[in-house]
Amino acid sequence: MGWAIAVHGGAGDISRSLPHDRRQPREEALRHCLQIGVEALQSNSPPLDVVELVVRELENIPHFNAGRGSVLTSEGTVEMEASIMDGNTMRCGAVSGLTTVVNAVSLARLVMEKTPHIYLAFDGAEQFAREQGVEIVDSSHFITPENVERLKLAKEANRVQIDYNAQPIQNDTKKEKPCANGDSQIG
């Protein structure tokens, strides 16, 4: 038995023709985050600390759909969500509907550790974030020009999109034309 770690940055209909300039920064980011996790495990950090540390780092990278770089609702806003769970104790925490919290995963951990609850959402989660003194910013911090464009395309198609899907989806039967750049505009 030894330590092990895995990370992901989203799944979907990722075209094999994905341009290098869209592929390479994400691969580099994954390597970077993986290395942070490896070093933490080698330093005997508890796995709960390791997963929080790594996901915080992933949230701060705008190439992925979480934290800065989160995709937009139909109203052009961000509503971020996160969760964390400890296998030993099965304690867990989750948050939804965040608009100003820089690292949603850390707020999820605070829900786990500082409340009798598992899940806080929207106004209550935002209020809890302020009570706990976690880092908050204006929600414009999370919105990237790429995601504004993705929303525009999705609204034109009247569809919602999962991570990287070239074919925007609303139900399992309807299909739309894939985006020309192979990245589907959903990050």
């Binding site: 038995m1 030894g2 330590w3 092990a4 770690i5 895995a6 990370v7 992901h8 940055g9 989203g10 799944a11 979907g12 209909d13 990722i14 994400r26 691969e27 994954l30 390597r31 993986l34 490896v38 796995p47 390791v50 997963v51 790594v54 996901v55 992933l58 949230e59 759909n65 979480a66 934290g67 989160s70 995709v71 937009l72 609702t73 139909s74 806003t77 961000v78 509503e79 971020m80 969500e81 996160a82 969760s83 964390i84 769970m85 400890d86 296998g87 867990c92 989750a94 939804s96 999820a108 598992i118 959402a121 929207f122 999370f142 919602v160 999109q161 990287y164 925007p168 399992d172 959903i186």
Partner: protein, 132 residues
């Protein structure tokens, strides 16, 4: 969506997931990420973080099902993950990463690709997108 699962050399496990959800989602929509047992789960056997179409992942209780197959059916982590991803969830809707208490790593998906990476104590390391 982003996620991380980890196990230390003592078999302690943890999982975390974070997301902005779907492009053009309705305000107020909840996805699988914060739903314990759907997009995120960990117990004494394994830790799982999922990504994909949240509604399908919630319906399939994907993360918990991986653990349940190990717990109740005695499957290995790979067998359990592959069963959930390839037999129990609609094609094109889910990817997951998982580690077991024994240090096994699985990265399984039924989508075209998944941005993913893993490393183990024996020196193995991998970053990949597609299945080959």
């Amino acid at each position: 969506t982003v996620g991380c699962v980890a196990v230390d050399s003592h078999g302690n496990l943890a999982s975390a997931t974070s997301t902005g959800g779907l492009v053009n989602k309705m305000a107020g929509r909840i996805g699988d990420t914060p739903v314990i047992g759907a997009g995120t789960y960990a117990n004494e056997l394994c830790a799982v973080s999922a990504t994909g179409k949240g509604e399908s992942i919630i319906r399939g209780t994907v993360a918990r099902d991986v653990a349940a197959l190990m717990e109740f059916k005695g499957l290995s982590l790979k067998e359990a993950a592959d069963c959930v991803v390839h037999e129990r969830t609609p094609k094109g809707t889910v990817g997951l990463i998982a580690v077991s208490a024994a240090g096994e790593v699985v990265m399984s998906f039924n989508t075209t690709g998944m941005f993913r990476g893993c490393a183990t104590e024996d020196g193995y390391s991998e970053v990949a997108i597609w299945s080959d």
